[in-house]
């Protein structure tokens, strides 16, 4: 018996568990951008960006606005950046802990 809530929340986190999707969200901090511009800034092919945007859109992380032939995307909820930044802080603490452990292991030249 594994709560449905946890399954949904897992989907939420999974949506953020991809480097390109994180890069897209970061690029959208500066405001609305077209697919082409995102592709250019991130140095990726248009179809890749479009595909990841599709996933972010499905999950409600971004919203699209059509203008002529191009589509402009923006973050759906600015609070997601507060969230990402908090994640970053925790993430960096984890990195530090891990590198501390690493150097601790290296101090003893003869591991166990």
């Amino acid at each position: 018996m594994e709560s449905a809530l946890h399954r949904f929340k897992a989907e939420f986190f999974k949506a953020l568990g991809h480097p390109v999707r994180l890069a897209i969200l970061d690029a959208l901090r500066e405001g609305e951008k077209s697919v082409g511009r995102l592709a250019e800034e991130l140095g990726l092919e248009q179809p890749s960006v479009s595909q990841q945007l599709g996933i972010l859109r499905q999950r409600g992380f971004v919203e699209a606005r059509k203008e002529g032939t191009s589509v402009h995307y923006r973050a759906a909820d600015p609070d997601v950046y507060t969230f990402l930044d908090l994640g970053r802080a925790i993430f960096e603490r984890q990195l530090k802990t891990q590198s501390d452990l690493l150097s601790e292991l290296q101090e003893t030249s003869s591991p166990s």
Copy 2:
């Protein structure tokens, strides 16, 4: 060229993108618990819990303390709960938006 930072951060989110791992973290809000107790509370097999704990440990989300034959786990950084709760708020807003969209679609009985 896709930043290494985004790759690492994606790993961070991926670690949280699993229902059992989220359930484990939630269960540890109440404090340290043994593997067996977690398995019992969550209604899962011990190996499954142990495996997911292993992943959470690798990524630095939990820490273990050995006591006799059993191992007690706790959250490595209490701030992760602030983070999860903020995620929950955003996640719920997304759900609401999506259900709004859904009912909007259903108002028109003849979908385009």
